[in-house]
């Protein structure tokens, strides 16, 4: 008998229909990937199994788990199951742990609750399981607090908590989305080995087809609360019987067309670089340990130099905390460097006069990762997009409006959108508005800080096409900060690999990706899940 059998599961919350007749089975020892875009009902399927639905939800259909009907189970019965036979891990390892309790206590808590053991035994078991998920006791004693661990290590603690009672079913909701690629690869490997060892079923919820292709035995593709297609992973991905599956796969490996020739530094000759960074050092003060302590500053950027030529798309790749965003902030003049120089179109802007910086700002804009947080919620689109025009006080009101409308048109929005608030748009549309805001001063350089990583794959493809078209039309140079290597390969001319504040290697994308010089680069490239390997 199947470990988990969901039949005709439907869910409404208030007036919204979330799930429409989901059918799904999972055998012990099986990894099933659940893939879909935001709003497809992936997480709600998981919450229906756990019976952790928000107030006002109404389910119908059946969820059979290990011979028990969960839709009929009382809260008390569910409490007995959750954390014992049924376990779950979440996307955000930073917030899923209690910061005030040691990791040992947090793992032991669940063991005491379900394991019928005393405190000492629970701690011994906790130590065992933590060692098992790769946190060796010598390095990570039980009395560590979550803030002393990295994101990947915290995710291991969460896996330890979830697996401490050897659950029969583990639900992992985007377990690696918040992690770096190399860490992601390790966590996926750990999950796979735990599934083999404990013969538990794993529901792996993800938006990333590459991740699912890498580890899942079978796959369920959801769209708007319905199962579009399901079956063995490789069959589904290779045959792509359903149009939506094809669409997802294509969007995941989408390559925007570049009409103009890639700009390579080697061909630049004596063209003046658009942006030149020389010997840049940026430091942050460390916290004082005592009143008269004078700690050495932390070097976030350590002696870094590079050039970007007009019209060139340069990628900046590195793991979290390597100084990517600090570099972006420094170039934009939002962060004072400790030393070094930055030139824009041959003019020295840092260190430089405020006038020079103000002048350069017209030609230099930024697009952020999060399409939700990058707008003042109380301003309308016309004002949001027009904000950088502050830099050109000589323009009249009508000229400003024209430029705002033109920028909106070039990102595929209309003048009918001028009078709306940002929250009236979807994530993809908001990112278009953010790009329009960056375009409105007709800049020569756009710093794009992970511009597509918060977007669904199909929208990601559209935004990449948009950025690519704009590059062709206005010969804009991009500094494209990303951790997604497939996007970088498809979109960029040159690439810089950054590690702890230094640039490790740089060069044309093909050269660096095909024959990397450093082990770190190779590791990074190997760790990235690649869908094309499986199709």
């Amino acid at each position: 008998m199947a470990l988990l059998q969901i039949k005709d599961l439907s869910l409404t919350i208030g007036d919204d229909v979330i799930l429409k007749g989901i059918d799904l089975t999972l055998e012990p020892g099986e990894i099933r990937g659940i893939v879909g875009e935001s709003g497809s009902g992936k997480s709600m399927t998981a919450f229906s199994i756990m019976q952790l639905l928000p107030n006002g939800s109404d389910t119908s259909g059946s969820v059979m788990f290990d011979g028990k009907e969960l839709t009929q189970a009382s809260e008390k019965q569910m409490c007995g199951l959750r954390g014992d036979d049924l376990a779950m891990i979440f996307q955000e390892p930073m917030t899923a742990l209690n910061p005030l309790k040691t990791i040992g206590d947090q793992v032991a808590e669940g063991i005491r609750l379900h394991g019928n053991v005393n405190a000492r035994q629970a701690r011994e078991q906790a130590a065992e399981i933590l060692e098992h998920v790769g946190l060796l006791a010598a390095e990570f004693p039980l009395n560590r607090y979550p803030d002393q661990l990295s994101g990947g290590q915290r995710q291991r603690v969460l896996i330890a908590i979830a697996c401490a009672m050897r659950p029969k079913l583990l639900i992992a909701d985007e377990p690696t989305t918040a992690l770096d690629v190399t860490v992601q690869a390790k966590i996926l490997k750990l999950l796979k080995s735990l599934v083999d060892e404990y013969q538990m079923g794993l529901l792996l919820i993800s938006h990333d087809l590459g991740v699912v292709a890498e580890v899942a035995d079978s796959i369920t593709i959801l769209k708007q609360g319905k199962v579009v297609e399901q079956g063995p992973t490789l069959d589904v991905l290779r045959q792509q019987k359903h149009a939506y599956t094809r669409q997802l796969a294509e969007a995941s490996s989408h390559q925007p067309v570049r009409l103009t020739k890639p700009v390579l530094s080697a061909d630049a000759g004596d063209t003046t670089p658009l942006l030149e960074v020389r010997d840049l050092i940026v430091t942050y003060p460390r916290t004082r340990k005592h009143l008269f302590d004078r700690p050495d500053p932390l070097e976030a950027i350590d002696d870094l130099s590079f050039k970007i030529y007009p019209g060139q798309t340069t990628a900046l790749i590195g793991e979290s905390g390597c100084g990517k965003s600090t570099l972006a902030r420094t170039i934009l003049g939002l962060q004072q460097p400790a030393s070094g120089e930055i030139f824009f179109s041959g003019d020295k802007i840092i260190p430089g006069t405020p006038q020079a910086m103000q002048q350069a700002r017209q030609d230099m804009q930024i697009v952020f990762q999060d399409p939700y947080g990058s707008f003042n919620p109380r301003h309308k689109v016309a004002r949001l997009v027009g904000e950088p025009l502050h830099l050109r006080p000589e323009l009249g009101k009508e000229q400003r409006m024209d430029m705002v409308e033109q920028a909106l048109r070039s990102v595929g929005l209309g003048s009918g959108d001028l009078d709306k608030f940002a929250h009236e748009f979807s994530g993809g549309q908001r990112q278009r508005i953010a790009i329009a805001r960056a375009l409105v001063t007709q800049p020569k350089l756009i710093i794009a800080d992970e511009p597509v990583s918060a977007l669904d794959v199909s929208i990601r493809a559209q935004i990449l096409d948009l950025l690519s078209n704009l590059r062709d039309a206005y010969s804009i140079a991009y500094l494209f900060i990303s951790h997604d290597l497939s996007v970088v390969r498809a979109f960029c001319d040159e690439v810089m690999i950054m590690q702890s504040g230094k640039i490790l290697e740089q060069g044309p994308v093909d050269q660096v990706f095909d024959s990397p010089e450093y082990d770190f680069t190779r590791e990074l490239l190997d760790a990235a899940p690649r869908l094309d390997k499986y199709i």
Binding site: F368, Y372, R378
Partner: protein, 287 residues
């Protein structure tokens, strides 16, 4: 989506507020008191400055709704005029707090570093004194009177608003739309005016209603010890003081101004609570 919480429009907030029971009740009470105060500018049942000794110490009746005091003045009329004084003092005092405190707090948040430290330590210093006691000192030095009471209460509103707006502003500064504005070359002052203040306004409004009720209490306290509003203008605090010696045979002299203070403060607090619930969707949903 919790990300959509913060983008509620003012109209939406008003709709939430209007379905909130404590907001409605608070609004009705506060509205009635303000109307009464405004009305007293044009009309009161009797002249509060005229002493008619024959009518002294009358119990509440159809002729004198709240009775009369030991000089034969109508207590209802005095409560009406007292409301005007209390509200005026509290309003101006809160105004001083907002007009000086909010710029100081947002300035500290924008500048950080030395300015921030200096301002906040000074705030701590002011906070360290019990507000009412210091108000007594100030009025004792500069002489009693409504203006000095306003200044004294106002000074102690400054750090309240400075601290609150600094904290709220600090949570707005790291947001990406602020980064975008800085990339657009806007100055800190301009960003504060355009982006920070509109986004912390909701928190400030709640604090204003609370400080307003505290201001009314403080004014009553100062007048009670004779340092607030001076005779012949009536004030709730001084009415209580005058009633004290006659409590045994004329309790109405204390009851009505006392009730007026309680109801006003209650109304304003309900209003503030209701507003806070309407402005903070997390609280609303958990109820």
């Amino acid at each position: 989506m919790n990300k959509d919480i913060e983008v509620e429009s003012w109209r939406h907030i008003l709709q939430n507020a209007l379905t909130n029971r404590s907001f409605l009740l608070g609004a009705i009470i506060s509205g009635a008191i303000i109307l009464m105060a405004l009305l007293s500018l044009f009309w009161t049942p009797y002249d509060v400055t005229k002493l008619v000794i024959v009518n002294r110490l009358k119990m509440p009746s159809a002729e004198f709704w709240f009775g009369t005091d030991h000089f034969g003045r109508d207590i209802f009329s005095m409560v009406m005029v007292g409301a005007r004084n209390s509200i005026a003092v509290a309003l101006v005092a809160v105004g001083i707090g907002v007009i000086i405190g909010v710029p100081l707090g947002t300035w500290a948040a924008a500048k950080r570093g030395f300015v921030d430290e200096a301002l906040m330590r000074f705030n701590d210093l002011v906070f360290a004194f019990p507000a009412l006691l210091s108000a007594v000192i100030i009025t004792a030095i500069f002489g009693p009177g409504a203006i000095n009471a306003i200044i004294a209460i106002g000074i102690f509103n400054i750090p309240v608003f400075a601290r609150l707006s600094r904290g709220a502003a600090l949570s707005i500064w790291p947001r990406e739309y602020i980064m975008a504005a800085r990339v657009a070359g806007k100055s800190r002052t301009r960003i504060t005016i355009e982006h920070i203040i509109p986004n912390i306004a909701n928190i400030l409004i709640v604090q204003i209603t609370i400080q307003f009720s505290l201001g009314i209490l403080a004014e009553a306290g100062l007048s009670y010890v004779g340092l607030g509003t001076q005779p012949p203008l009536p004030s709730w605090g001084r009415m209580l003081f005058e009633a004290q010696t006659m409590m045994s045979f004329a309790p109405h002299m204390a009851i009505f101004p006392g009730l007026a203070i309680v109801i006003t403060v209650l109304g304003l607090n309900l209003l503030g609570d209701g507003l806070r619930d309407a402005l903070d969707p997390r609280l609303r949903r958990s109820r």
